[in-house]
């Protein structure tokens, strides 16, 4: 499970603890993702939905999520800030736009009093605090919650919790990864002897031209 999704899931469960609400976990993926979805159920989600399609790009994935949410009522949608392979951080805000609800990307803190959510996101040199009353989607970064681990009872109950697979809705493609490239190697380090450390300043100025 994507570590950011784990954080989002843990926060969702925390917010719904003590009968305050229910958590549905949704995944866009082919049947190979089911063991991971079961893990989410074991951690504490109440039920699960798998949209039976490979998450080919953010636009497609966000569209599927939005289509599902349109037909099922949710107060809040939480997800991880980005996938750990593509690092796009696009899905949450796209879902927000498809549903015409506010989105807050890459949040570090979320508090909820039952009607109003207070979210914190980072900005250059500081932070912004936003308050939302009503439906919204937020993507979570580190700090929103401690990732929960499944306990024995959770693992047992996960087997019988509902996991429904539904078919995706067609939508045209807008972006596709053509290839992956590795970066050019940086070259070997130029070492400066520690007794003559001041030489580094000259090199950074005259040679590297960065100071």
């Amino acid at each position: 499970m994507n570590p950011y999704d784990e954080i989002a899931l843990s926060k969702a469960i925390e917010l719904c603890e003590g009968g305050k609400g229910t958590v549905t976990v949704l995944n866009v993926g082919e049947s190979a993702t089911e063991p991971t979805i079961r893990k989410a159920l074991a951690i504490g989600a109440d039920d699960a939905v798998r949209i039976n399609a490979a998450p080919r790009d953010a636009y497609f994935t966000a569209f599927q999520i939005a289509e599902y949410v349109k037909n099922n009522d949710f107060d809040m949608i939480l997800c991880g800030r980005e996938s750990i392979d593509y690092n796009g951080a696009q899905v949450a805000a796209m879902v927000g736009e498809f549903l015409d609800i506010p989105s807050v990307s890459i949040i570090k803190k979320l508090d909820y009093d039952g009607t109003t959510a207070t979210l914190e996101r980072e900005i250059e040199g500081g932070k912004e605090v936003v308050s939302i009353t009503g439906k919204f989607i937020a993507s979570c970064a580190e700090g929103v919650a401690e990732a929960k681990i499944p306990n024995m009872r959770g693992i047992m109950s996960a087997r019988t919790k509902a996991l429904v697979a539904i078919e995706p809705v067609a939508i045209e493609e807008v972006a596709k990864v053509v290839k992956f490239d590795t970066p050019a190697p940086r070259g070997t380090v130029k070492l400066v002897p520690s007794e003559d450390a001041k030489k580094l300043i000259d090199l950074l100025h005259a040679e590297a031209k960065v100071i």
Binding site: P3, A58, Y59, I84, D85, Y86, N87, A89, Q90, A92, A93, M94, G96, E97, D100, I101, P102, S103, V104, S105, T118, R121, E122, I123, E124, G125, G126, K127, E128, V129, V130, S131, I132, T133, F136, E172, V174, A175, K176, V177, V178, F180, D181, T182, P183, G187, V189, L191, P193, S194, A197, K198, L200, I201, D202, L203, L204, A208, V210, I211
Partner: protein
């Protein structure tokens, strides 16, 4: 057809990352044989708006309504999309800043456009394709992504494209689009911004330190070095976890990613999760007493030595260099 670039303002001023986006957008406009229009939202002086001509904009749409004077994600996304349609632009460029990352995907959906989040290079268009390179796998690789939609949105990674002066004649035009009330559902309650220090994501030079410093009380020399260089300070995850330094300084896979011109790492071993946050830095300097520290493998310059002896020497040398 034209290219549109959105440039953020903070307290009425544009930042270097914004000028980079304008220069990048200008390069695309030239390649496409078309003009560049910029859009600014909020209260910005005419003189500051005209600066954008220096980087290639021939027109600036100035959105200066009371409603929109502060950043509101949903509302700004609507305004920028309206501007794209008004200018009949096919390509929108903006900076992949914190706010840009929340805006670009919403605009992409409004325009049914493919989005490149964090572009590091200009689009390649041979063979009628339109593809752009961005980083992937936490900076360990690049992904070349093709956009197949009619309209395209590109969010440029800060410090990935140089600012270039071209000096275009520029006109400023007022633009006041209607924005629906529901676009203001999220209410900004508070903005906290440290004004005294150089902001880490914007910094061109960063001095960073890790566990090798042994304790928070030893950070004085790091701060002094940073001040002399006009640099921001950063740290590794263990240091931030131990609360030796504020969490906002944590650079790495689960912290922030930066791409300064110069990154100086003092007493940091260079674990792969830390490298993920700084791999796009132009020049990397590593100071560590362990010659086997993995960080030396990605460093451009290095000093194997005790930080407590090396850093004071650097501080002295800088004082001489400046004085």
């Amino acid at each position: 057809m034209s290219v549109l670039v959105y440039i953020e303002q903070v307290e009425g001023k544009f930042k270097k990352s914004g000028f980079e986006a304008v220069s990048y957008a200008k390069a695309i406009a030239i390649a496409q044989g078309t003009s560049l229009t910029a859009i600014s939202i909020g209260q910005v002086d005419e003189q500051e708006l005209k600066e954008l001509g220096k980087y290639g904009a021939s027109k600036v749409l100035n959105v200066n309504t009371d409603q929109l004077k502060s950043f509101v994600n949903q509302a700004y996304a609507s305004v920028i999309s309206e501007a794209v349609n008004k200018e009949n632009a096919d390509i929108l460029v903006l900076s992949n800043s914190f706010s840009g990352r929340g805006l670009a995907p919403r605009i992409a959906v409004k325009l049914q456009a493919g989005l490149i989040d964090g572009a590091v290079d200009l689009p390649q268009t041979e063979g009628g394709q339109f593809s752009v390179k961005k980083t992937a796998f936490s900076g360990k690789a690049f992904a070349v992504t093709e956009l197949t939609s009619a309209k395209k949105v590109i969010a440029l990674m800060p410090n990935a494209f140089g600012v270039k002066e071209v000096n275009e004649e520029v006109t400023v035009e007022s633009f006041s689009p209607e924005v629906k009330a529901t676009d203001f559902s999220a209410i900004v309650k508070e903005i906290v911004r440290a004004t005294d220090k150089v902001s880490l994501p914007d910094a061109e030079i960063v001095v960073s330190a890790g566990r090798g410093l042994k304790g928070p009380e030893n950070w004085g020399m790091i701060e002094e070095l940073a001040t002399l260089l006009g640099a921001a300070t950063a740290c590794s995850k263990p240091v931030s976890d131990a609360d030796w330094r504020p969490h906002s300084e944590h650079v790495g896979q689960t912290g922030i990613s930066i791409s300064p011109n110069l990154y100086i790492a003092v007493g940091i071993s260079g674990a792969i999760q830390h490298l993920a946050g700084i791999s796009s830095s132009k020049v990397i300097v590593v100071i560590n007493k362990d010659p086997e520290a993995p960080f030396f493998k990605v460093a451009d310059y290095g000093i194997v030595g005790d930080a407590f002896e090396v850093v004071p020497q650097l501080i002295e040398a800088l004082k001489v260099h400046k004085g």
